[in-house]
Symmetry: C2
Subunit: 307 residues, 2 copies
């Protein structure tokens, strides 16, 4: 089945202990769609500027991603600069130039209206809600957000959360959103806000999925997928979006969304996140194949599997 | 088989968001031996003062723990006071009164010399090394340490690490000991210092065991055991020592130490740590039974188990 992602396409400048790159293709929708493209048909709604050319477009097309929803606006594409130091889990933002992204109003092409799965990457919550309302036929909606919206637009975010099936955020965001430092209790509070399931990403420790009682016709016992301990993390940018791409892409590739499928999706999320960080930007995500992905899935599985 | 733990027995004052207790029985050797007692025969070498009475001794004896190695010295027992705030992973030390523990020289009773498994809880590294050298016949030695010794007595600690089979420490300690922020690389550096295996405890995210190439006749692929997301952590004190007790106690209960046994031991470590934090002090560890322990082992297993 197909999946639509609505979010940012950007140019990034990134510095990490492994080196430095400038003007590389980035953005949540880019990482997400590349990661999801190994599982299912992907469509993108985003906005770019005059500086987005055929070379960038080719990155999407080589992975069979439908870019008809990428709007060209007058001006420059969104630019972000970030640096990582010893703690690779935290980026220091060097600059954010929103450019054409500042006035982004997602427009869904008519050809996209039959999309079955929807992912609302990290954009302003009211824009997320508007997209969700337009896509009435979707089977499942995933959603990301960040501290900026949790603090700045809590009411708008609360409205959006009523409309989504799965929220994917990290530990810090979950604790902030719930106003609660204990993670399982934070999860219960967030599930009460609307989502049927909540994926909390723990960085190098993996991710946990919490379920609302009765959601997906399954029990509420959480499930955890570990992450692979990686010898060298070159660039953590996009790890969360790649996780979301693997998770949602795998869900969209399956006939049914049940507990076992959600569990496997959580593993595939971790797998795609772990590939993303091995090289700068989207380099690794551009050149994978399904055999490599499934080999790593097996390694992840073995990592915690008891006979 | 039997296991000997050498470490502290203490009285603790603890404050956490769940409440406050004073003068409760604590100490690494106490938590360790209670946790290990559900798996195997436990012996303790420690020192206490005049204020350690039959009531405290009964806690050990009710669990069948051999306390002949607990030395009575003139003076007061080691006392520690700590507070936990929102971040339950970190204690603020309110006071440390070493008392009789300050001049602790572990003496191994003759009846203990045939012990097969040894655990060197967190004490001065040279004392750990001396105990290890006296216990020549042991099959496997586990060891704990802390930032204080990593920073303060690195050479002494390096000597100790040459004598131990499994080192159990947390993320922060591992990164500090290796001088390396990437965990898998830190693990390889530490394994090069001596231990055959390294258990890195991740608090609420579980623990990972890294193996030296060829150690225990198994490959070097790491293994991870998740921890249960716990709704209420009352008192994190002793979680690491209880983890070590479950891990080492289970190893000591098995005929052979192989990869599968080490994997299960890692799960049992997490299980015992998770019980410990449910109540203040050692309360929960005093009143468990093997059925409850194995039921939680199954829950942990299910937490990451794919069909």
């Amino acid at each position: 089945m197909s999946i639509l992602v609505v979010g940012s396409v950007a140019y990034d400048d990134i510095t990490s202990p492994s080196g430095s790159v400038k003007n590389i293709l980035g953005g949540a929708a880019t990482y997400f769609s590349l990661a999801a493209s190994y599982f299912t048909k992907v469509r993108v709604v985003a906005v770019v500027g005059d500086d987005f050319g055929p070379e960038q477009e080719r990155v999407f097309h080589k992975r069979g991603i439908d870019t008809r929803g990428i709007e060209r606006a007058k001006g420059k594409t969104f630019r972000w600069g970030g640096s990582y130091f010893d703690n690779l889990n935290e980026a220091k933002t060097d600059f954010t130039d929103l450019n054409v992204f500042e006035t982004f109003q997602p427009r869904i092409p008519q050809e996209y209206e039959d999309t079955e799965f929807l992912f609302l990457a990290n954009i302003q919550p009211t824009l997320q809600a508007n997209v969700r309302r337009k896509m009435n036929g979707v089977r499942l909606t995933g959603c990301d957000t960040m501290n900026y919206w949790i603090k700045g637009t809590p009411r708008e975010l609360a409205e959006t959360l009523k409309l989504v099936d799965v929220l994917l955020i990290n530990d810090t965001e979950a604790k902030m959103l719930a106003g609660e430092t204990n993670l399982p209790r934070a999860a219960q509070k967030i599930l009460a806000m609307g989502p049927k399931a909540l994926v909390i990403k723990h960085g190098e420790y993996g991710a946990t999925i919490f379920f609302r009682e009765g959601a997906f016709g399954i029990g509420r016992h959480p499930f955890r997928a570990p992450a692979l301990p990686i010898d060298e993390v070159k660039d953590p940018t996009g790890a969360g979006d790649s996780f979301a791409g693997g998770f949602m892409g795998y869900l969209a590739s399956q006939e049914e969304v049940n507990r076992e499928v959600l569990k496997r999706a959580l593993f595939y999320g971790g797998v795609m996140g772990s590939f993303a960080v091995e090289r700068f930007g989207t380099e690794r995500l551009q050149s994978l194949n399904r055999e490599e992905i499934d080999a790593r899935f097996q390694i992840f599985r073995e990592l915690t599997h008891l006979e």
